[in-house]
């Protein structure tokens, strides 16, 4: 059984550590906030200028001056702080954000990532993604293992225009957890009931399989 988007987020949440400052991208990464272990102090950074992002507001309590980088209405937690966009990307570039989680269209076996542009389609822009991938010290990609046509998104090299190079450290897909190593994608865990063979078949880039591969415990 492939993981659901919620389960991908749940698995990524297990990478969090107490005291982490974390930037969560739009889509599956946003869901990670729902699985921060109780009692663990994790501070969420939103690159439009906020540390200490809280959950969505209660109905009727939306504040138009308080949004996240996905332009959604949000709240803050105690200890939050607002700043301008230059300082926001300043702290990202300076490596002060411990973990960045984002989605991807393609990841290559050397850690390149493509997630902003499809030639021939309307290009909306890279937003903050290029800054994040060029600067974050630890990047986890949350993605589907294959595209809707069933083609692998884990490739020898990206075919789409790049967002950044040699930056992805780990991938949590619906099928597997993989580290990006100097030798290629290293399989760490597989989704419950998904075989190593299926992952091999759906991974176009170089896959390293060593010893028994445990199932992802959700």
């Amino acid at each position: 059984m492939a993981l659901t988007k919620e389960q991908i987020a749940q698995r990524i949440a297990r990478e969090l550590k107490d005291g982490y400052y974390v930037n969560l991208g739009i889509g599956i990464p946003t869901l990670v906030a729902n699985y921060i272990p109780a009692g663990m102090n994790v501070v969420l950074q939103s690159e439009n200028g906020l540390l200490g992002m809280g959950p969505f507001p209660f109905e009727g309590e939306e504040d138009p001056d308080l949004i996240n980088a996905g332009k959604q209405t949000i709240t803050t937690v105690p200890g939050s702080v607002f700043f301008d966009s230059a300082m926001s990307f300043g702290m990202i570039r300076a490596g002060k954000v411990d973990l960045t989680v984002l989605g991807a269209m393609e990841v290559s076996e050397n850690g390149d990532i493509a997630n902003w542009k499809i030639p021939g389609k309307m290009v909306k822009g890279m937003g903050g993604a290029m800054d994040l991938v060029a600067s974050a010290k630890n990047i986890i990609v949350a993605m589907m293992h294959t595209n809707p046509k069933g083609e692998s998104k884990l490739l020898p090299s990206c075919s789409l225009p790049l967002t950044g190079t040699r930056c992805v450290k780990k991938i949590v897909s619906d099928l597997a957890v993989l580290d990006v190593t100097s030798g290629g994608f290293k399989l760490l865990e597989r989704a419950p009931g998904v075989s190593v063979e299926e992952i091999k078949a759906k991974t176009a880039g170089k896959l390293i399989v060593e010893g028994d591969i445990p199932e992802i415990g959700i």
């Binding site: 109905e59 009727g60 332009k71 822009g125």
Partner: protein, 232 residues
């Protein structure tokens, strides 16, 4: 020294066709609603707009796009706007896409008198094409240059008559950076107070950067993505 003007119309009255403008805001949050309305009314055209986003079809910079006042957008993300897409595909509109942190820092660099700086964003991508790449401490960086804008138009929460500004929550975003970067900076504020009322330790934009200020009105503050939880 009198920086206070009566209205948005007064504040923008000398912005000519073909000007390069910076417009503060992130999405529809913290945008200079009054000045945008005045620019539409004045029918200024052929504008180059530096702004993180391009509004939606019927709000924000989208209102200027609808009237075909914009020649070129310099932004990091321009989704959520069908008219924008139409003009872009038809070639009526030019778009330059810039990584968001680079956009912010190019504003700050202008306000800080730094003509250029190095940043890693975009190395190894098409953003790096034609740019100088230099390695510092084992990592590659691009040389990026400060923006050069004729007018910066920003929205603050409170301002005093000397032009000192305070922003609210995430409506700060690009506003203080652009406020520093314009040759002429125009600020619209929700509350205009006498000098001495703002806490000198808590001012985000010192008045030295601001040339004109006025109290805006009828702020709609439209929400782009209303996301809520249910109570219990």
């Amino acid at each position: 020294m009198n920086k206070v003007v009566a209205s948005a119309e007064q504040a923008i009255k000398d912005i000519p066709d073909g000007a390069v403008l910076m417009l503060g805001g992130f999405g529809l949050c913290g945008i200079p609603e009054n000045c945008i309305a005045a620019l539409v009314k004045k029918k200024v055209s052929n504008l180059t707009c530096i702004s993180n986003n391009a509004g939606v079809d019927d709000f924000g910079i989208g209102l200027m796009l609808k009237e075909k006042q914009v020649k070129k957008m310099i932004s990091s993300y321009v989704g959520e706007n069908a008219e924008f897409e139409r003009q872009l595909l038809s070639g009526e509109l030019q778009v330059e896409l810039i990584p968001q942190g680079t956009l912010a820092t190019r504003c700050m660099a202008a306000g800080y008198g730094m003509p250029a700086f190095f940043t890693p964003a975009g190395v190894g991508t098409e953003v790096a094409e034609g740019k100088e790449i230099r390695n510092f401490n084992g990592k590659d960086y691009l040389l990026e240059i400060a923006f050069d804008a004729d007018f910066a138009i920003v929205k603050a929460w409170k301002g005093d008559t000397d032009g000192n500004l305070v922003y609210k929550e995430t409506a700060r975003n690009f506003n203080p950076l652009m406020a520093m970067a314009g040759k002429i900076t125009i600020a619209e504020v929700e509350e205009l107070v006498p000098v001495g009322e703002l806490d000198p330790d808590a001012i985000h934009t010192p008045g030295i950067y601001v040339h004109r200020i006025f109290k805006g009105s009828h702020y709609e503050k439209r929400i782009e993505q209303r996301t809520v939880r249910k109570k219990n």
